[in-house]
């Protein structure tokens, strides 16, 4: 095969996982769309089938990569391809969040003040929303969703910040341990990271419960509710994904995978974890605090 001359691993066999993934993703979104259009029953079924197929694809595909990696098929150059790809993937995620942060800034700096009569919004306020005054948090001139209370920064969110920051430390500790080949510390570090991640998700869920049941703060609470839940929600989703990936890494570590020089999967997940960490700092500052 071609690698006889060059050791960059170029797969030559037939490869079914992508097409499985496409079928999975498509059923997922088609089912979701059908459910949104009112065909809830069948829509939900198609969607769950899609999720299942997508998960199958991920297990199969990643499993194959892990196997190939442990067979030593990947040289340093392949490793670098993975590194570049993961970094750019994280950058794309950053840009996805940027869209929602952008919406938050725009609402706070432009649209709400204009509705309240600031700057070029004087007539907007006078003629269309005469009783509205700019304030933040706000559910807009019509108080969509009714009166609500904002989520205070210095309760659960502050604790969650501490949790995530600590988990950033524990994962780094685990990484150092891996490089020094201290398997025990590696597993402990990862275990702590996973535990902290799950604790974070749990607290976040509790916070949502509080918001809906005691603060009357809902996704439909105007622009505050929209930005609050979409930003924290997508972040929470990413933390969940990160935690699942960490669990996989933990299990693999327990099974004895990775060696001090060769552990890209570990690093990729660690990078990802730091990324959700940094996004959280942005959330804490701009969504909760300021």
């Amino acid at each position: 095969m071609a690698q006889a001359h060059n050791d960059y691993y170029v797969p030559h066999d037939t490869h079914w996982w992508p097409i499985v993934g496409s079928v999975g993703l498509t059923s997922l979104v088609v089912g979701f769309a059908m459910a949104l259009n009112g065909a809830t029953g069948i829509g939900r079924f198609v969607m769950i089938a899609g999720v299942a197929v997508t998960l199958l694809m991920m297990f199969g595909w990643f499993g194959m990569v892990i196997k190939e990696s442990s067979r030593g098929l990947y040289n340093k150059q392949v490793d670098r391809s993975f590194r570049w790809s993961m970094s750019w993937f994280i950058f794309s995620e950053v840009m996805f969040f940027a869209a929602f942060f952008g919406a938050l800034f725009y609402a706070r700096v432009y649209s709400l003040p204009w509705l309240g009569g600031a700057g070029s919004g004087a007539l907007t306020n006078e003629l269309l929303w005469p009783t509205f005054e700019f304030a933040w948090p706000s559910a807009g001139p019509d108080q969509l969703g009714g009166e609500f209370q904002a989520m205070p920064a210095w309760g659960i969110p502050a604790i969650n910040t501490a949790i995530l920051l600590t988990s950033g430390v524990t994962v780094t500790w685990a990484h150092h341990a891996l490089r020094a080949n201290h398997r025990g510390q590696l597993i402990l570090g990862l275990f702590l990271t996973v535990a902290l991640g799950l604790l974070f998700v749990g607290l976040q869920a509790f916070e949502y419960y509080e918001a809906y049941h005691h603060l009357n703060l809902k996704l439909s609470s105007g622009i505050y509710g929209s930005t609050f839940f979409m930003l924290t929600g997508f972040h929470g989703f990413h933390v969940t994904m990160g935690a699942i990936m960490l669990i996989v890494i933990l299990l693999r570590s327990i099974k004895g995978h990775f060696d001090p020089d060769n552990h890209f999967a570990f690093e990729a997940v660690a990078w990802y974890w730091h990324f959700v960490d940094v996004v959280w700092l942005g959330l804490f500052i701009f969504v909760y605090w300021l």
Partner: protein, 273 residues
């Protein structure tokens, strides 16, 4: 050789078509000059930048064509080997930049004037609906709706069998035109009730989006009485093509008279209710 000539012909016939403007009066090819100081300025800017582009284009394409004629292999030339020249590169970076600056200055001046809606004599509030306009004269208390006239409306149905040519001002006529006085600074406020529309009358040199929940401002000063037509200029659904605007510019007295009639009419209407 043959090809190059054909290319030339096509290129220049395009430019000639532009230059032949008066000969093509029927086939309107250019922006209307309009009847407001701003519309005239805008027209001036438009022509300025147009000619600048034509000049640059003529230069660049001229050199290119010369090269295509003379530096072809069939003429037995051998390719030169130069492939950079810093001075030239600096020059063709700096000169376009300077040209752009010289265009940006007058454009900025006009823009600043266009956005200055202070000290208006009259305020017209325009609200877009799917698919008609509502006009409110804030000082004079007149208010009405305006939509596509019924003749155009009949003709524009799918396979109506009515020849559009036979309908006067096909698609550019309304039941109730906006009446505005000449030589007054008129402030126009736009907003909408459902989706985004845009209020545009080319001869007045103004266009602004009508956005639900927000008020936009623009102004105009019409210098000649007459009838000016425009259309909604933001896709607003099925009948976006069918919500025209007609402005009737009249002298101040006529305007006053019209307002009196309108307020009388609306008073009568309320009385009869």
């Amino acid at each position: 050789m043959r090809h190059a000539r054909a290319g030339l012909t096509v290129l220049f016939s395009g430019i000639l078509l532009f230059l032949a403007t008066p000969a093509l009066a029927e086939w309107a090819v250019n922006m209307p000059v309009g009847v407001t100081p701003i519309s005239r300025e805008v027209y001036g800017l438009h022509m300025l930048i147009f000619w600048v582009c034509v000049a640059i284009g003529a230069g660049v394409f001229g050199v290119m064509l010369w090269s295509i004629f003379h530096h072809r292999k069939s003429r037995g030339v051998k390719a030169a080997s130069f492939h950079e020249h810093h001075m030239v590169e600096v020059i063709w970076t700096v000169i376009p930049f300077l040209i752009l600056v010289s265009m940006a200055v007058p454009a900025a001046k006009t823009l600043i004037r266009m956005e200055d809606t202070r000290d208006a004599d009259l305020t017209l509030k325009v609200t877009g609906y799917q698919w008609m306009w509502q006009y409110e004269y804030l000082e004079d208390g007149v208010s009405f709706y305006s939509k596509l006239d019924s003749e155009s409306n009949k003709a524009r149905q799918l396979n109506s069998g009515i020849d559009p040519e036979s309908v006067p001002h096909y698609l550019l006529n309304v039941d109730n035109p906006v009446v505005l006085p000449v030589n007054k600074k008129i402030r126009i406020l736009t907003t909408a009730n459902d989706v985004i529309h845009a209020w545009w009358v080319p001869a007045l040199g103004v266009k602004k989006d009508a956005i639900p929940g927000f008020i936009n401002e623009m102004w105009t000063l019409i210098e000649e009485p007459g009838i000016y037509r425009g259309q909604c200029a933001e896709l607003c659904g099925k009948d976006h093509a069918f919500m025209p605007i007609v402005v009737k510019a009249v002298t101040e007295e006529e305007y006053r008279q019209w307002v009196a009639e309108q307020t009388g009419k609306s008073e009568a209407e309320t009385a009869s209710l």
